[in-house]
């Protein structure tokens, strides 16, 4: 009897101890024609956030059928984002799984940083994509993700800028800087808050950059001294206005969906979005009140891009690359940019496109409730190094939520 337990215990600990995962190198030397031909009939598992009906519709009604029709590829979309993706891939690598359940995923800066940390991304592959020639790599908002060079490890898909959304029936002159916001919040207690999630932290990053001296003041590698100096100012500011936040600053929305819901039902008069065009999208869906408008304060907000990554230990990398190439095609980008479809700004350089496509992009109807891209580009701030986000997340909890 003792022997049985002894052996079972040994097995238990042996199973717990994981060896270092072996990674397959980039051995793909095929040309694009071969890649296209070999990928025919394959099924690609794409993990992405499915929280927006218009984005889901774009994927299911356009991308999925077009990939099947044009390339014979079945695209299978799985719900999951950020931390879920990292968690799955981390577990697969820790258990030395040779073939991933996910072939590609929709990511942005934080996930890119994490996936590069655990060496889970395939690449460089973007230069192999024929449509890469149209990508606006001259833009630092596309070529750099959280101050890290993309280096071909993720394929840009869309570009967005954080915008504040407000109810214009209730707010006639939205605050344009931190002093005006402080006055407004104190005069209208309970109507403003910041989410304890990605978008909220992105807003705090914008404020941190402003306190540090504005554009490019936090560019380059993480600077502890600068962070401590300016984050102290930021926490002092937040401490002053927190008692006037929603729920007296005793709790903070845990997701952007919760912020939007509080805005829709009138509890909040402000919400925010990482997509400057989202207000049009949400109003078309009937989610936001008709008086909703978006703007970018004069102190600026972060602009960044979102990307498609391919899993290093996927055995469907070629088919995943074809999906990426299709997603950055002028046709797919043009469709996605329209407010009635999604309203996501393109990552293509319009001037690099064939003339007929240039014309089509120029004819896309203007946004109705969000500011025009050209008007807010001057207020766009670049993402600082990822360590700023890590520290802001931790310190926001310590310095604001728990005090």
């Amino acid at each position: 009897m003792k022997n049985i337990f002894y052996h079972l215990t040994i097995i238990l600990f042996l199973t717990c101890t994981c060896s270092s995962p072996k990674q397959k190198g980039d051995d793909n030397n095929k040309n694009w024609q071969q890649i296209t031909s070999d990928a025919k009939g394959k099924t690609v598992n794409l993990m992405m956030w499915k929280g927006d009906p218009l984005i889901n519709k774009y994927m299911s009604d356009y991308v999925v059928p077009e990939l099947q029709k044009q390339f014979g590829i079945s695209l299978h979309i799985i719900e999951g984002q950020g931390n879920a993706i990292v968690s799955i891939l981390m577990t697969e690598l820790e258990t030395n799984k040779q073939k991933s359940e996910i072939d590609m995923m929709w990511i942005n800066g934080e996930t890119f940083y994490q996936l590069r940390q655990i060496n889970a991304l395939y690449g460089p592959f973007v230069e192999k994509l024929p449509n890469n020639e149209y990508v606006d790599w001259e833009s630092p908002f596309i070529a750099y993700d959280f101050q890290q060079a993309v280096d071909g490890y993720e394929c840009p898909w869309g570009n967005v800028q954080l915008a504040m959304i407000y109810n214009s029936d209730k707010v006639q002159n939205p605050p344009m800087n931190l002093s005006e916001l402080e006055i407004w919040v104190k005069e209208h207690p309970g109507k403003f808050t910041i989410g304890n999630e990605f978008t909220g932290m992105t807003l705090l990053k914008s404020w941190l950059i402003h306190l540090a001296g504005g554009k490019d003041s936090l560019s380059g590698k993480f600077n502890e001294e600068k962070y401590l100096k300016h984050s102290t100012q930021l926490w002092a500011y937040l401490q002053r206005i927190k008692p006037y936040f929603w729920n007296e600053g005793k709790s903070f929305p845990a997701s952007i969906a919760q912020m939007h819901q509080l805005f829709s039902n009138g509890e909040l008069w402000f919400t925010m979005s990482n997509n400057d065009g989202e207000v049009d999208n949400k109003m078309l869906q009937g989610i936001f009140p008709e008086s909703s408008r978006a703007y970018v304060p004069e102190i600026g907000t972060i602009q960044n891009s979102h990307y498609m990554g391919v899993v290093k230990h996927s055995d469907n990398k070629e088919a995943a690359m074809i999906v990426c190439n299709f997603l950055i095609s002028p046709e797919a980008q043009f469709r996605k940019m329209q407010a009635s479809v999604w309203g996501d700004h393109t990552i293509l350089s319009i001037s690099k496109l064939p003339v007929d496509w240039q014309q089509k992009f120029k004819e896309i109807p203007d946004r109705k409730y969000a500011p025009e891209r050209g008007d807010i580009q001057g207020r766009a701030l670049r993402e600082p190094a990822p360590e700023y986000m890590i520290r802001l997340f931790d310190d926001f909890r310590k310095e604001v939520m728990e005090k």
């Binding site: 994981c18 994490q114 709790s251 997340f393 728990e402």
Partner: protein, 276 residues
């Protein structure tokens, strides 16, 4: 030999997966496994123990557990008292309804009932009792965790009511009541000195076990709780899934702390039962 095989099978199916998970968390928390770890270290435990949120989290979990349990028992005792002596079968059947609610659905339902933009608030607004939704008192995501407690009570008090009713029948409470009334006892005296102590004593093992396992509540505090302090489970989940991958070993250390706490409390309780 046959008995040994059955025990071994039981071990493999039930105990081993739990111990494997716990073993993995122990190794992770000491830096021995995990992509972000570089070998044995006490660093993650030191960081966790230096984090004041650890103790507020445990204290808060304890508060939720005791407050919920107190109200669950009060409601269940009063309801079972009423049902045992009134014998209202249709209401007894209704008690099974909340038991069919998954905790997440119950949490959502209470959110929509109690939030400032919820059903009660809207009724009060339209009836003129309040002039703005901000006048409605905060009953979800609130400082006293009223929303969490009421959802726990809604979900669990029917179970204890049914349990108390069954136990009361087993103890022949009707007959005991008649005797006590004959001896001059009042209704209140009978409830406080006979009905309540007898039922609580007889069902004590289940009550204590439930209280221990309520530490593991997740969905309800996630939706209805404050951002700070958090329940243990929400704390672990936050550390496990947040932006900083260096926090994952701390999440495992917290999971180990939680498991040790639960196993310790359960063992203490089992010993106490055996000695009674």
């Amino acid at each position: 030999m046959k008995k040994e095989i059955v025990i071994a099978l039981y071990f493999i199916i039930t105990i081993m997966p739990l111990f494997m998970g716990l073993g993995y968390s122990v190794l992770y928390s000491f830096g021995m496994v995990g992509l972000m770890n570089n070998g044995f270290t006490f660093e993650h435990w030191q960081k966790l123990l230096a984090n004041s949120a650890l103790f507020t989290t445990i204290g808060y979990s304890l508060y939720i557990r005791l407050a919920s349990l107190l109200f669950i028992l009060i409601f269940a005792l009063l309801f079972s008292w009423w049902l045992v002596f009134k014998k209202n079968k249709s209401i007894f059947n209704l008690l099974f309804l909340p038991l069919a609610f998954p905790p997440l659905i119950a949490a959502f339902s209470w959110y929509y009932i109690l939030s400032p933009a919820g059903i009660i608030s809207r009724i009060l607004y339209h009836s003129g009792a309040i002039t703005d939704i901000s006048d409605f008192p905060r009953l979800v995501n609130d400082s006293y965790s009223f929303g969490i407690i009421i959802t726990h009570v809604f979900l669990i008090f029917p179970l204890f009511t049914i349990l108390f009713i069954k136990q009361a029948k087993k103890e022949r409470m009707g007959a005991i009541q008649e005797i006590s009334f004959t001896l001059g006892s009042t209704k209140n005296q009978f409830f406080l000195k006979v009905f309540m102590p007898l039922l609580l004593k007889k069902t004590a093992p289940l009550i204590i076990l439930y209280a221990i396992f309520m530490f593991g509540a997740y969905e309800v505090p996630l939706l209805l709780g404050q951002s700070s302090p958090r329940m243990i489970t929400v704390f672990i989940s936050d550390k496990m899934t947040r932006f900083n991958l260096q926090d994952i070993p701390q999440a495992h250390a917290m999971a180990v702390t939680y498991s040790v706490l639960i196993v310790g409390l359960t063992t203490l309780f089992i010993r106490k039962i055996k000695t009674v």
